[in-house]
Structure formats: structure tokens, C-alpha cells
Symmetry: C2
Subunit: 167 residues, 2 copies
């Protein structure tokens, strides 16, 4: 029960794109984060498939957020990368074996599945209550107001030996 | 990001053991739920490793809960079967790449990891708020007060052609 490493990458990309003043290529995002370009491209495509980012074409093309960062939640990103299935798998074992309950008596989810789904709802609600805009604010609070501006400046250039402030 | 199927099996076994008046073998629990005996034995061993059940020896030996079902939460069972690691993997990508933050400036978890961990806390709290005793009560409410007694009666026998009420 672990998320793919791609979640961390995808969220950080959204934070960077929220601060960016133009499209950013997958290659540049991969270079910034020192991660596999191929793997990151796959996660960016997942974000695009979910309508969170879109790829613009042309010489200065790249990825941009499709909506304000205050309208993109962590839950949106997790769903995009991990898929929409629930964490708990209910195989209705109460309907199996020598004392199997009849299908007719199982129209309501069993108590185990209900409790698991309630916990997942709490998880989703917490992730849904944090937006990319919130994370941008927190990164700035943690690293100083210039942190994302430094990243944006670096993203604009192909080489930037003076850049030093990380986030 | 999915739980193993073993979670469903392990929780149902705990519910059955909570209603049982004596030790139950892994073979009998597997037969009751019509699941793989080998796989179920592995999950029961995980529960034993976490101190939730214990194996008693001898001719009438088998598994019993080690403590009252009101003292075993769903979170205890999930941790026993899935392990104790967190769902989100933070690889500190803020410390990588050309704008890497220094290790000295990263003594606090980054905003992304903090938000993910807060959501996990909400999940854990929800699972930790439901006990096996709660599930027993809900199964009885759903299936009638005799449901678990029928299971217990079946577990005592090697053959029970009259048993019919499932849960």
C-alpha cells in the first residue's frame, strides 16, 4: 500500500508550473528535479489525461497548468497518477464458502468494506482540502519569497550558473 | 496504491475469532471463507507477528485473539498485514538537481510531504476509531443476532449440512 514515486514528482511539477510564467518542457522539469525524463513524461501525460496540465506546441511549447493552482487539489493529482480505484479491495468473501450469504442479502456493503471506505473518505477529504496554491504559499513560507522566482528564472534559461536557492 | 486482498481476509478472520468460543485452525478459516489456505496462513502469521492473534498448540489448537476485540482496531490489522511504512514516498527531490536545497535547510519535511502525512494521519485515525468489536456489532445488526453464532457452531464441526445463515 504505497504510492508510486511519481506522486512526489507530479506534485512538485505542479508547484513549479504554478509559479512559472510560461510553458515548461518535460525535459526541463526532469533536469530541475534530477529525475528520469521518460518516467516524468509518463506522469505529466497522466496529469494531462486528467485535465490538470496541458501540453502547448511550438518552439516555446511545454506544459502549463490548465486552471488556477487554487483549483487543483492534492487529491486531483493523486487520482491522476494513481488511478481512481479504491485502496481497499472488497471481494465479497461473505458470499463465499459453506455459509455464504446470498447475493440478495448483500445489497449493502458489508461492515468491513464500509469502515474501510469511510477511512478512505477521510483521506480523500484531507488531500482534497490542500491545493497547489496552498503548497506554493507553504514553499514560499518555508524557503523565502524568492524561492519559486529563482526556479522560474532557471526554467527560462538553458544554463544558469548563478542560480543557487533551492526549494 | 491498493491494499492486498489479505486485508479483507484478515479482518474477516478477526471478526470470526471474536465470536468464536475456542481456537480455530487456519485450514478451517480458509474453508469458511473459501480462500487459499496457504495465503491465509501467511496473513494469520502476520497477525500473530503483530500480537493480534496467537496460535495455541495441541489437538484442539488453532488461532485465538490475544486481547478483547474492543482493543483491536482496523488500523492494527492494516499495519500487521501491510507493514508500517507510510503510503507517500518522499525522496527529498527538493535536495536534487541544479537548484538543490541544502540538507541543512531541509530539517523540516517539505510542504508536499507534510500535506501527504496529514492526510495519512486522517486515514489512520479513521481506521483506528473502528474496532473488531464494532464490526461484530455491525455484522450482527446487518445479518441478525444469530449470524456469528452460526459461524461459531460451524467452526466447531467438521461437517455441518444444516448451516445456512451466512454473514
Amino acid at each position: 500500500m504505497r504510492m508510486s514515486a511519481g506522486i512526489e514528482w507530479a506534485v512538485h511539477c505542479c508547484v513549479v508550473l504554478a509559479g512559472s510564467d510560461g510553458p515548461v518542457t518535460a525535459a526541463r522539469l526532469a533536469e530541475l528535479h534530477d529525475v528520469s525524463r521518460t518516467s516524468l513524461a509518463k506522469h505529466l501525460q497522466a496529469l494531462a489525461g486528467a485535465g490538470i496540465v496541458e501540453a502547448t506546441e511550438g518552439r516555446s511549447g511545454g506544459y502549463v497548468l490548465t486552471r488556477p493552482p487554487s483549483n487543483v487539489t492534492l487529491w486531483d493529482v493523486v487520482q491522476a497518477v494513481e488511478g481512481r480505484g479504491s485502496v481497499f479491495r472488497c471481494t465479497e468473501i461473505r458470499q463465499r464458502g459453506p455459509l455464504a450469504a446470498s447475493a440478495e442479502s448483500c445489497t449493502r456493503a458489508c461492515a468491513v468494506a464500509r469502515a474501510m471506505h469511510d477511512a478512505e473518505q477521510a483521506y480523500r477529504a484531507a488531500l482534497g482540502g490542500t491545493t497547489i496554491a496552498d503548497l506554493v504559499d507553504q514553499v514560499e513560507a518555508d524557503s523565502g519569497p524568492g524561492a519559486l522566482a529563482t526556479v522560474t528564472a532557471w526554467l527560462r534559461r538553458t544554463d544558469d550558473p548563478d542560480a543557487s536557492a533551492g526549494y
